[in-house]
Amino acid sequence: MSDYIIEMKNITKKFPGIVANDSVSIQIKKGEVYALLGENGAGKSTLMSMLFGMYEPDEGEIYVRGKKETISSPKYATQLNIGMVHQHFKLVSNFTITENIIMGMEPQKKFLGILPYVDVKGSDKKIAELSREYGLEVDPTKRIDEINVSTQQRVEILKMLYREAEILIFDEPTAVLTPQEIEFLLDIIKGLKEAGKTIILITHKLEEIKKVADRCAILCKGKLVDVLDVATTSTKEMANKMVGREVNFEVDKPEPHYGKEVLSVQNLTVKDDNGFDVVKNASFSIRGGEILAIAGVSGNGQVELADAIAGLMPAAGGKIILNGQDITHDNIRKRIDDGIAYIPEDRQKYGLILDFQLKENFPLKNYCKEPFSKKGILNYSEFDSFGEKLIEKYDIRSGQGNKTIVRSMSGGNQQKAIIAREVEQDASLVIFVQPTRGLDIGAIENIHKQIVAEREKGKAILLISLELDEVMSLADTIAVIYSGEILKVADAKTLSVKEVGEFMMGVKGNETKK
């Protein structure tokens, strides 16, 4: 009998165009917290998806409790007592917590002794007990669309426990949480470890590994770089191994030189489709040469705020003033012309026409102006030369240059294309929403440099990010949004991470607000 509960030997997995895992071997002991560290695209999630039966490896073997297994489906993984919390939660939004947890393993009762039905009521009780047992309190009868992200994560954990999982995989569990919620989650993980569970933690955040992990495997570009004992290794060392070179955590940012006020948002209220106030009475202003970052947990109204400024959502109340001009009721085109550039959160849904060629995407906002068109007739030679210029200047890589269908490009290069287009607008206000989401460290550094460069040109920058690190390192001014309200606006130097975190939870806001 082997000492290891999980052994993955020489695992190789290829996807069209990339080798996601290249002969990776890891061994995990029972009862330890094992971290998988690596940049986005290093192959961590792929490796664990194979352990969970979502893909099968092209080569290599998997041993569970010393026995060789072919894990062909999540169902079989569940039978092996393996559970996984995915990065994007897999929950049915119009089902209750109980229904989500029991789905696939529903206890049945017989109506009149013959007709089988799902015993939801009995399950409610069982789930309530289970949640108390592990300190993961939830109300089992609440629907998923009524609870917040951190509770949804608890539901995912309960789902694994309900299936009596012994080996728990967490895929980037902290990405969507506030600092305080992260602390709480790490405590839960420690508690699960004490209860005898084996935990695999996928992450790219070093502090978390330092706090909870026993050992840490580092993946880089699909290959296993090293397996380290966390207690005896410094975070700096781990980081260097992860990226494969020296990392500079700090963003080079000169002292600010503020210019005139560019954007002023006054008592802005935004309603969603159902008439709820998603942004309430928000006020702040940004000067030229200033980066104002909005910190907040996902879903607290920051995207709607950006959409309202750009004109994608109507303002239900208040004013938006750009360069002294009231633009509250202007249409989107007018706002673009008046000087708003916008890098949207969802680049594939909003930022690009994926089925257009690259060169057709660059003038997406200018196609109706000279030189791209005259009196409604397009001038394609201008499209060509503009495209070539941007590809060169922003180092956008694609299969067939100008003529590449954007859908076939990598996420990083798609984002570069959007940033190139928006920066070239030469607008006085540039809105960045989650500009580095899903990109690797190299690309992130690059984009951070670009944001700072725009600031140095005297542009006003509105940065919306869920990554607190990004907010702290880039912002001149921080505004914290909670439940649609701006709870705090202050100079970035005067706020600590902890304070910002408390505002993000809404803990601190109410007493400071008059």
């Binding site: 893909y55 569940t78 995915h86 049915v92 939004s93 789905m103 696939g104 039905y117 489709d273 159902n274």
Partner: protein, 320 residues
């Protein structure tokens, strides 16, 4: 006159309702189903064909062809629906286009086959199958209650079948494991997959159920409207039932309400033409009524309807 409105209204509303339930199954599982129109026609074709053969073999008063037709229409609709399922689930085709294609093909095929079968099997140049006139039931006692009693008067046997089927369909969708999985597939197929359930299987079977229920509905229309099967079966009731399930926001009970509204609107219109002794050409104008009502209702209800979240989305398991 009120009696007549209720009797005719119900006999129209119930087939519409059972077809809409089929639509609900398919759409709650995440597959847009504009093919209901074609499914009901194809199902009814099979049912009518079987009934025609049985009618030749059995004495004329036999009720067997009637029930056999209902049953085989369900089978026929189910088999034909597999085409939509294959296109949408396995071939990952655009579901709207697939639905429309299937309707057009159903019409072409059944009209063609009706002629061919008539010529080859019966040696007659006819483009329709004649069916027996359906018997009607009246429940003594209950039917003599004023106004409400009309519900129990002159019932087509298929109305009873539909009520039973509807109750079963409701129970399965909202109370059983399978129904739970169907509803989950239309909201978040990834979650269903992660729970170890085969999304493709659930969706495929849900489309087949919609085919079976549509086939039943088509057969009922064939019996109630004209006691024959012909290309006149394609009068857009499939689309009407889609409109009904949209008002019913993809839930079974509210959809019943919408169907009853259509049914009574239609029968009331006809009664008005008769009572006011208008010339028969005015019935064409009255025929417009349910469609106009549909459009008007859509105007009021479409904006905020809660369509299943993953409706029309192609689920690709291998997608990262």
């Amino acid at each position: 006159m009120l009696d007549k409105i209720i009797i005719d209204g119900l006999s129209f509303a119930l087939p519409l309702f059972v077809m809409a339930i089929g639509g609900i199954y398919s759409e709650r599982s995440g597959i847009t189903n504009l093919a209901l129109e074609g499914l009901q026609g194809a199902g009814a074709f099979v049912g009518a064909l079987v009934a025609t053969f049985l009618m030749m073999a059995l004495p004329s008063e036999s009720q067997i062809p009637y029930y056999a037709a209902m049953f085989t229409a369900m089978i026929g609709g189910m088999l034909y629906a597999m085409l939509h399922a294959v296109l949408c689930v396995n071939f990952k085709a655009n579901q709207v286009i697939s639905g429309v294609v299937i309707n057009i093909l159903a019409m072409a095929l059944t009209v063609f086959l009706t002629k061919v079968v008539n010529r080859i099997a019966f040696g007659a140049a006819s483009d329709k199958f004649l069916l027996n006139v359906s018997s009607r039931w009246t429940i003594p006692g209950l039917s003599s209650i004023p106004i409400v009693g009309a519900v129990f008067k002159d019932i087509y046997p298929f109305e009873v079948i539909i009520v039973l089927v509807a109750i079963i369909a409701w129970y399965v969708l909202y109370r059983t494991r399978y129904g739970m999985h169907v509803r989950a597939c239309g909201d978040n197929p990834q979650a269903v997959d992660a729970a170890g359930i085969d999304v493709a299987k659930i969706r495929f079977s849900a489309v087949m159920i919609s085919g079976a229920l549509s086939g039943l509905a088509g057969m009922c229309f064939a019996y109630s409207i004209s006691a024959k099967y012909a290309s006149t079966i394609y009068v857009g009731y499939g689309y009407l039932s889609i409109a009904a399930l949209i008002f019913g926001s993809w839930k079974i009970l509210p959809t019943l309400g919408a169907c009853l509204l259509f049914g009574f609107a239609k029968s009331a219109g006809h009664q008005i033409v008769q009572v006011l002794e208008m010339p028969s050409s005015y019935s064409d104008l009255v025929m417009v009524f349910p469609y106009v009502l549909t459009l008007l209702l859509l105007i009021f209800f479409s904006k905020h309807n809660a369509a299943p979240k993953a409706l029309g989305e192609i689920y690709d398991k291998g997608k990262r």
